[in-house]
């Protein structure tokens, strides 16, 4: 057993050959994380015969300085600073013998401040979710949560606009914003597409949105889309006396083209542009920089995240993606609906919303938040609830998410039997009556349906909407629900 221990004698440690990761110093149960350390919580499934501490040490090693054998060149460096330190391993509740799931462990790993380049998500992710995720001794690994020290947070500029400034620019306060994604996703010409934008915004929406896969295909060139959409936005603005916007998706094959599209959006007077998560962290940070220099709100669609966030045993949790996105600097981020058609149980989704909107996120195991996170006055992201929601759920949405959220009813606006304007009116009336009732002190979770019914008496479009989507729910068990140990005292 002594062979498993950390080898501290320099001659022994560096005599060449292969040592266990624990022996190399990546398992440090006595280590006390520093206030400037980044802490990662990995959920790991070791291969048969690999013990949990060795697996945790391997994660620490492979996500920092280790290679598979001992190298004397370590001795030229202050190598202990560069070694990540696994300092704690817990069994994941409800896994292992007697359950349907293989034994999993939560491994806590600390990283020194020197490991990551200032202000670079690309650099941080290259370590934390790099080689380690393909490492053979682990069957599966998931970066479950992360705590980023204030010292590192302050090297990022964060959202270019933030919730507060966005609201001031839009002149909209005290209620969620309303949006809709244009449908059908594909095939509309620029002129037809602008019609949908116009109807939605004039009806009462604040924003309309390009879909994630609308870029510049054969059926609609991007310039056409931008021109027609901005005509619609401006006309809707003069029809209502309110500021309106359309998220113009500038996602393209290369940065030069994205900049060109963003510049065109700006020249047309758009107040917001949009990108997809698939463009990558560096491109996101570049667009964030551009938006900051050009007074532009930046909307992020999280296209692609489900490929690595959804499965509980492997990948990166969306909590971590949300934290990185806030550092990288986007203003809007799709963060789930809880009640709609896409993955996410209500508590977990609320955890994402906290990450977006808090000044200081508190540890909250029931919402899947393993760590406190001090955001050091970094601006806040507006979460976006989009996907299979409708006005009949308004009381649930307002209760779950509060005011600072964009509620996007795509089908729930455009699919209204009396037309898109009627759909938008129904949503806006439903929203306003619910906010009013909540502020008046009424119990909207209990009275919600009655509040909507009462408002529908003087609003035919709302009456029709409630009838059309009556009882539409997506009740499936969430794949990614929080697992939390009963005794955690994470640092």
């Amino acid at each position: 057993m002594a062979k498993e221990e950390r080898v501290t004698d320099i001659k022994e440690r560096y005599k060449g050959g292969v040592l266990k990761y624990k022996q190399m110093g990546y398992w440090r149960p006595d280590y006390e994380p520093k206030a400037t350390d980044t802490i990662c919580l990995f959920r790991i499934t070791p291969q048969e015969g690999v013990d949990a501490e060795e697996a945790a040490a391997a994660v620490a090693g492979e996500s920092s300085t280790a290679t598979w054998t001992v190298v004397w060149t370590d001795l030229l460096t202050a190598h202990e600073s560069y070694q990540a330190k696994a300092y704690r391993v817990d069994k994941v509740p409800n896994t292992g013998p007697g359950t349907n799931t293989e034994q999993q462990y939560f491994a806590y790993v600390a990283y020194d401040l020197i490991l990551f380049e200032d202000g670079s998500i690309a650099n941080m992710t290259a370590s934390l979710i790099g080689n380690v995720f393909s490492f053979k001794p682990l069957k599966a690994a998931r970066l479950e949560d992360i705590q980023i020290p204030v010292a590192y947070v302050k090297t990022f500029r964060g959202p270019p606009t933030g919730i507060i400034v966005e609201r001031e620019r839009l002149d909209k306060f005290g209620r969620p914003l309303l949006g809709a994604t244009m449908k059908p996703k594909l095939g509309l010409s620029g002129r037809n597409y602008g019609r949908v934008v116009y109807e939605g915004l004039t009806g009462g929406l604040d924003f309309t949105k390009d879909d994630e896969n609308i870029n510049s295909q054969a059926f609609m060139h991007w310039r056409d889309r931008f021109l027609y959409c901005m005509d619609a936005v401006n006309k809707a603005q003069s029809n209502t006396g309110e500021i309106k916007g359309h998220y113009l998706n500038v996602t393209a094959a290369d940065m030069e083209e994205m900049y060109a599209r963003a510049e065109f959006a700006k020249s047309l007077g758009s107040n917001i542009i949009m990108i997809d998560l698939v463009i990558g962290w560096t491109a996101m940070q570049s667009m964030s920089k551009w938006c900051r220099a050009n007074d532009m709100i930046l909307h992020l669609h999280r296209a692609g995240h489900g490929t690595y966030t959804r499965q509980r045993n492997h990948g990166v949790s969306f909590k971590v993606i949300a934290k990185w996105s806030r550092l990288a600097g986007v203003d809007h981020i799709h963060a789930g609906t809880a009640v709609g058609k896409l993955e996410g149980d209500p508590m977990t989704v609320q955890g994402y919303y906290n990450i977006c909107r808090d000044s200081y996120t508190k540890q909250d195991f029931s919402r899947g938040l393993f760590f406190d996170q001090d955001w050091a006055d970094l601006r806040k992201m507006m979460p976006v609830a989009s996907g299979g929601i409708h006005v009949g759920q308004m009381h649930q949405l307002v209760t779950l998410f509060g005011d600072d959220v964009v509620l996007q009813f795509g089908g729930g606006t455009i699919g209204h039997p009396e037309g898109i304007q009627a759909g938008a009116i129904a949503n806006r009336v439903g929203l306003e009556c619910m906010i009013k009732a909540r502020n008046e002190g009424r119990d909207i979770m209990a009275e919600g349906p009655d509040i909507l019914k009462a408002a529908a008496k003087t609003c035919k479009p709302l009456e029709t909407a409630l009838e059309t989507w009556k009882g539409v729910e997506f009740n499936y068990t969430a794949t990614d629900a929080p697992d939390f140990a009963t005794t955690p005292t994470a640092s």
């Binding site: 507060i164 609201r167 001031e168 002149d171 306060f173 005290g174 209620r175 009462g204 021109l227 901005m230 005509d231 401006n234 006309k235 603005q237 003069s238 029809n239 209502t240 006396g241 309110e242 500021i243 020249s267 047309l268 007077g269 000044s359 006055d377 806040k380 005011d403 009116i425 806006r428 009336v429 306003e432 009556c433 906010i435 009013k436 502020n439 008046e440 002190g441 408002a455 003087t458």
Partner: protein, 138 residues
């Protein structure tokens, strides 16, 4: 046309009792309240006229209603809104804003298009009310 700025413009106009309930909500949150009016509701006209400075540390919503009604008396044929301010660190901005008065007739806006290079158009939202001098608009 009915201008739809503010939190509750899609609902029937709020009665004084309903305004009071909203004011009480703001007070329960510790927010300050202000009354503002304008005869130019252009969406980019940020600074309406303040009806006095915002009321800080108020305990009784009746004080706000009193100011709303005083403003109505003096500027009855204009737009009047109540807004709430939150001074919490990290917010320090407006947290509520809703109309409590409108002119009898709302002329609304026209959209002026100036054709520019290529197919670009420069847009101007024109507030019809401002065709007349201040004081004669409604």
């Amino acid at each position: 046309m009915r201008i739809t700025q503010g939190q509750f413009s899609f609902l029937p106009d709020l009665t004084d009792d309903e305004i009071r309930l909203q004011v009480d909500y703001a007070i329960s949150k510790g927010w300050a309240l202000g009354v503002e009016w304008t005869d130019d509701p252009h969406p980019r006209n940020t600074y309406w006229n303040m009806w006095g400075i915002p009321m800080f540390e108020i305990k009784d919503g009746a004080a706000v209603l009193y100011e709303v009604n005083a403003c109505r008396k003096a500027q009855g044929n204009s737009y009047i809104r109540v807004i709430a301010f939150d001074n919490t660190r990290g917010v320090e901005s407006i947290t509520m804003g809703f109309m409590v008065n409108r002119p009898a007739n709302e002329p609304g806006f026209g959209l002026v298009r100036q054709e520019a290079d290529g197919r670009q158009i420069r847009y101007t939202t024109h507030s019809y009310a401002t065709d007349k001098p201040a004081g004669q608009r409604y």
